[in-house]
Amino acid sequence: MIFDWLAREGGYILSWWALATLMGAAALPLCWRLLGGLPDRGYTLARAAGILLTGYIFWLLGSFGFLSNTPGSAVLAWVIVLAISLIAHFTRRESFDVRAWWRGNRAVIITGELLFIGLLVAWAFVRAHLPDTSTTEKPMDLMYISAIMRSQSFPPNDAWMSGYAISYYYFGYFLAAMFGKLSGVVSTIAFSLNIAMLFALTALGAFGVVTNLVRARLTRKNDAPAATQGTAAALLTGLLAAVFVVLLGNFQAALIEVPYQSRTASEAYLAFWDTPERDEYPERMSARADGIADDQPITLDPGQDMLAPTFRAHWWWFRASRVLQDRDLDGTPIGVQPIDEFPQFSFVLADSHPHVMTLPYVLLAIGLALNILLRGRASNRSETILYGLAVGGLIFLNTWDGPIYLMALVGAEVIRRLIARRAESRTLDLSDWLALAGFGLAVLILAAVFYLPFLIGFRSQAAGLLPNVNYPTLFRQYFILFGPFLLILVPYLAVEVWHGRGRMNWRLGLQVVAVLVGAVVILGLFSLLVTVIAGGAGGTPASVWVSQIPEIIVRRITHGLTTVILLAGIAVIVARLFARRGTGAAYNASTGFALLLIGIGVSLTLLPEWVYLRDGFGVRANTVFKFYYQAWVVFALASAYAVYSLIASVESQELVPAFRALSGALAALALALGLVYPALAIYNRMYQESGRLITTEQSPLTLDGGPTFIRGDFDHQDYNAIMCLSALVPGDEAVVVEAVAGTYDPNVGRVAALTGIPVLFNWPGHERQWRGSTFDATVGTREQDIGTIYQSEDWIVIQSIIDRYSIDYIFFGTTERNRFGPDAEYKFLDRLPVVCQSGESRFYATGGAALASAGE
């Protein structure tokens, strides 16, 4: 079966690998020049850089009308990147010996290449078992990829709102579509390959950052007795980082899901963790419904073997992304709970959302930050331009990440300046702060200028900050989420405190914490004042808010452990980084960078304790989601480095052996418990959920997720008819009408999702999210008009709607038949020619506009 699959679709994987490699090769000379601080000169980041730059040039020239959306245009963009890269390389002042570079980095290069191709094939293999594109929000992702592939110019069409461009940060979809067009695959295959490539590219990025981090330490401190041994340690640490970032899961599976499914945990145990849908057994809920009191014992059903072929607990693996449970003051869980995804969950789920598609470029940005630190000098103009492109790219990929990694770049520059001061002082003066502000501003302005065509038309959902008054995170839930890293980072920070000893700047650390606490108190008082003056908030009268203050304070105190621990972490990091005067360097650059990563992670998880971004959800759900996700990445990288520092570095031999052993044991425990999730979840998705363990006739492996739409109302006739239309309509100059429904429904919006041909309107909930305040004006009466087309018998009215929106095709498939009845089709049958038909599913052409679409 595997070889059959590889024979059929191996070429697609190979072509994506080749494309990514060629783009990386084009950017490599540029990396050699601009990423000279990194021991590998940016080799491991070159693929991400090449893809980003090629995509950027392609998108920019397309946005200005110089390029149409064709594979050739992407090739031209690649040639331009190659030309720029070669010019940059050959105009460098200092000499660069390529042979010496190869000799010094061949182990890293070979390992990186094997890692990339191996993970690409491996995750494509996983995906081929269940190439689902129709659940959760995958139809949305697929719609974007299909629409971009079909769009003839940029900005690409929003295929669920004909006549309008995409109103979302769509660069990730753009890159996926670019690969799809270049490799000549359909969007439903590109969808699967994109997930596989993101998986491999992210792992490569993590490997590259941490390998460079360790090698930089070895190079500068001669930490290893032999170069080979040092390289081996760096490679292993890099591979560990790749595992931490893309493969590791949180502790939900090991500590909650397995006991829950096997019914081996006590009810008190589940209640202790208090996670949504896993805080009590279903038997308890049934008993309660039967009137049995909660303090009465119940009989639990026998536990289930999670590896059994028949294990069918529906999407149990999804619960790992819903660990936090925010409750109102009366203890009632709120309606929209925080999302706490992590990369492995994202890859198992396989939604191609922006926060996933940004991962390789996040690691690129972190690599650039490391380059700033290791360069040992202020960034020059060319480097700053690259940083601007990367930060702007993040804004375009997943807007939230832009500011985060801009701060990472500036943070790296802070540490570089601190280290540059050597023993004299570990504080910065005014000129340093001004230079830092200038650097940050320059990168920000460049990012804005580079991506102006996107930013001009983009309307962010975020509309300011709101205080998080009464939803703190329980530390035990925080531990479930970040436990794998806490088990490693807490000992690591303890060791760093020990290393710092007399030079720890505790005063500054505590001052920073005090400022943060003061800011939080002031923010809280200010919000309360505003709420009282405004007469209430969220429908709650001001008097109620005031009366709840004591309860809020109590909750903040009883649930304050997370905040206290995170603030303590910040104090330690600040005290260590801004060390007091002493002899010699207080820490090396790699350690400083690891501390910076931990500081970023701590800050990102601390922020949602007190504030959240005002968005369409109205609660902190999305803020937690976006911030925790990035925290996972930086914690994972820092943890890999910490493992090296604790048990493999020369300095670790200075530690008490028992402590070193304990650290190793904790790291092993973290790894073991964290790997329970991927082991079970991947197995579940590949074999149990796909039904491959219980069916005798197994469907062939395939990356094509298109046919997975054939479920629910959507049958194969609809699919065949839609594929026919896709072949019939060559470009994007057509408008189709199909039935409209809410969101998350693959039975509607499927013409656009599968073909990229714009439909008049669909998935209203998502369109509302994307378009925010402009939604109502944009959509107008489209939804009602679509209903009229299907339901009205007055052809004059229908024709007027057709003319108003320049509708070219009307689809009457299974969903339409179920929703409007078979009689609703007669008016179309009587008047309009059928251009595509499969069984009872038909596309009707409305007039001349459709006719002019074909032919040379």
């Binding site: 110089f66 064709t70 594979p71 050739g72 090739v75 031209l76 251009v835 006719l851 002019a852 032919g855």
Partner: protein, 628 residues
């Protein structure tokens, strides 16, 4: 490098400086007039072929946005610019679509004059004459082939490169990069291979530079033969020349920014270059350009081989010869490995071939070294050789025809035309005997050899020219011709005339007639209806029911007529034909080579049916356009 430097600095002492007309100038004028006549005459007689139609449609729809059909990506940016200009200035027919490339062909023929200082007068003239006689050049020039533009820019690149190498002027460096960029990005996918071949040939010619013996008589083995190139490249004004090249490329690709999406065509060209390594066009045999070159220009191969042998035996292979030979080898290699190459890519071989053959100018036209034969002796001999070759050629054609008439090789020996065989043998015998006669008469080795070379070159040029003319004009619709992978039928002209006649009936001569066309993606048909602004190009006939005139692909003979929604009268037109070379029998090869004849004709025919609604056919206006 010694040779080229010597040649580069050596001025031609024979060049006329005074006011007045020289023989050389007259010769170039004659060549130019001949080239113009050959390339421009009857340029619009044959319908555009498939690739021509696709390129012309892209330009046409850009110039005339109301034209039916979607805007197309230009297959070749430079051709797009030329055709857009022509359509704007001189109309929208086949002549306008082809005239720019035809003129480019004339320029290619005359381009050796640019190298006059390097090659000398005689060699430059001979080079021009050979290019004029090349059927590949003629067919490409008359068929608006982008490969011809690539060839022209390859020559211009060489010219600018030579001038920069010899004079080191910044202007030449800029021109070099501009021409090179145009060759790579603006001409056609094969232009990139041409550029690679040029660079490869340059390196090969430099590397094979013979070592110079030092004072002790030892060859200096440590010599870095690429040092001159490295040294010049270091001094190259990359920033300025690169900047200008980028700007010029951008300007040309975008029609001077009037067609901003023109860069897409550049990207498309690059993508097709990559595709060309794996995808072979339909009905195209492997190594196609090589086959074409051997098929149409065998004399050039023969003469080039003779020159190379002569040159290497005399150890006179200078830089130009080494460069041309390396170019030929690389061109042949490209022809072998590049699947995307078409017939016109035989130019990859033609240019180095003629460059090699032109080397014969020196031995042919140089004064006799030891002989005392009169100057006209070689010309008289050449005339005799030419006459004998012509006689042999005519006889050979007759024999070939005779061979081809019979189905098997067993019969040919008994039934072949005996007289023509005898004539052929006599002519060949006279050629051999004539050599000794001339040699003994003038007691000269030079006269018979030079006369033979001149006669052979003249014969090659004339017969090749005939072959080129036949392929591009008189037998353009012959599918058996190796060049024509999908021969376009002259019937397309009839189809066009019929459409115009119908337009006359329905809209009093304006091309505003309602016309439905199922193109099936075939640009041949789309081109014929290009100016029918009310034409609807559709994917299926169901969408076109009831229109006054409908043009659809012909159905198989046993299939029912399409349901058009009323009474229609149909007329079938042959549009194109394809022939399978595997149908050729061995005994047919001579006739196929000489006369493009084969017993088995086209196997795949593209036919269209022009359906005219009964009322239109009867000459009565429809009145109610909604009538169905």
């Amino acid at each position: 490098m010694q040779n080229i430097q010597t040649l580069a600095t050596g001025r031609d002492s024979g060049a006329a400086r005074a006011w007045g007309i020289t023989y050389e100038q007259i010769a170039y004028v004659v060549l130019a007039v001949l080239a113009l006549v050959l390339t421009l005459a009857a340029l619009d007689v044959t319908p555009l072929n498939e690739s021509e139609a696709r390129a012309a449609l892209a330009a046409y729809r850009h110039v005339y946005p109301d034209a039916p059909g979607e805007a197309l990506i230009a297959p070749n940016p430079l051709l797009f610019l030329a055709q857009s200009t022509a359509f704007t200035v001189i109309g929208n027919g086949e002549f306008a679509a082809r005239v720019a490339t035809a003129i480019a062909g004339v320029l290619l023929v005359l381009s050796p004059v640019l190298f006059r200082r390097l090659f000398g007068v005689e060699r430059s003239l001979l080079l021009s004459a050979l290019l004029l006689g090349s059927p590949v050049v003629l067919i490409s020039a008359r068929g608006s082939s982008p490969a011809l533009w690539a060839a022209l820019f390859a020559v211009l690149t060489l010219w600018a490169g030579w001038r920069w190498w010899s004079d080191r002027r910044e202007r030449d460096a800029i021109l070099l990069l501009v021409f090179l960029a145009a060759l790579i990005f603006l001409t056609e996918p094969g232009g990139i291979l041409t550029a690679i071949a040029l660079v490869g040939a340059l390196l090969a010619a430099l590397i094979t530079e013979p070592a110079i013996a030092n004072d002790e008589g030892d060859e200096d083995e440590a010599i870095d033969r690429l040092a001159p190139l490295t040294e010049r490249l270091r001094a190259f004004p990359w920033a300025l020349a690169g900047g200008v090249a980028v700007l010029v490329t951008l300007a040309l690709a975008t029609n001077f920014l009037l067609h901003s999406e023109g860069l897409t065509a550049v990207g498309d060209l690059l993508a097709r270059f990559v595709d060309g390594f794996v995808a072979r066009p339909a009905n195209t045999p492997a190594f196609f350009p090589l086959r074409i070159s051997l098929f149409y220009e065998p004399w050039f191969w023969l003469l080039a081989a003779a020159y190379v042998i002569w040159s290497w035996r005399r150890a006179q292979a200078d830089f130009i010869e080494r460069f041309a030979l390396a170019w030929l080898v690389l061109g042949a290699l490209a022809a072998v490995i590049y699947n995307g190459a078409g017939a016109e890519h035989a130019l990859w071989l033609t240019l180095p071939l003629v460059l090699l053959v032109s080397g014969l100018a020196q031995p042919i036209f140089a004064p006799y070294e030891v002989d005392e034969a009169p100057g006209w002796a070689r010309w008289l001999t050449a005339l005799a050789v030419f006459a004998l070759l012509a006689m042999a050629s005519i006889a050979f054609q007759a024999v070939a025809r005779s061979f081809a008439r019979f189905g098997t090789l067993q019969l040919i020996t008994s039934q072949v035309d005996a007289i023509n065989v005898i004539v052929l043998l006599i002519a060949l015998a006279f050629l051999v005997v004539g050599y000794f006669l001339v040699r003994s008469f003038w007691e000269s080795d030079g006269v018979p050899m030079r006369g033979a070379a001149i006669g052979l070159i003249a014969f090659a040029c004339l017969t090749s020219l005939g072959a080129g003319w036949r392929t591009s004009v008189s037998s353009a619709g012959n599918p058996v011709d190796l060049w024509q992978r999908r021969a376009v039928s002259p019937n397309l002209n009839l189809l066009r005339a019929s459409l115009l006649d119908l337009a006359d009936r329905t809209t009093r001569g304006y091309t505003e007639m309602q016309l439905g066309v199922v193109t099936g993606g075939d640009p041949l048909i789309a081109w014929q209806v290009r100016d029918f602004n009310n034409a609807l190009l559709a994917g299926d006939v169901a969408s076109l029911r009831g229109l006054p005139v409908i043009l659809v692909p012909a159905q198989p003979a046993d299939a029912p007529d399409p349901e058009l929604g009323g009474a229609y009268v149909g007329q079938e037109f042959l549009v194109a034909q394809m022939w399978d070379i595997n149908l050729l029998f061995t005994n047919e090869i001579p006739a196929w080579w000489t006369e493009r004849f084969a017993n088995n004709q086209a196997t795949i025919n593209t036919r269209y049916v022009l359906w005219v609604r009964q009322d239109i056919y009867d000459g009565v206006s429809a009145g109610d356009p909604t009538l169905r």
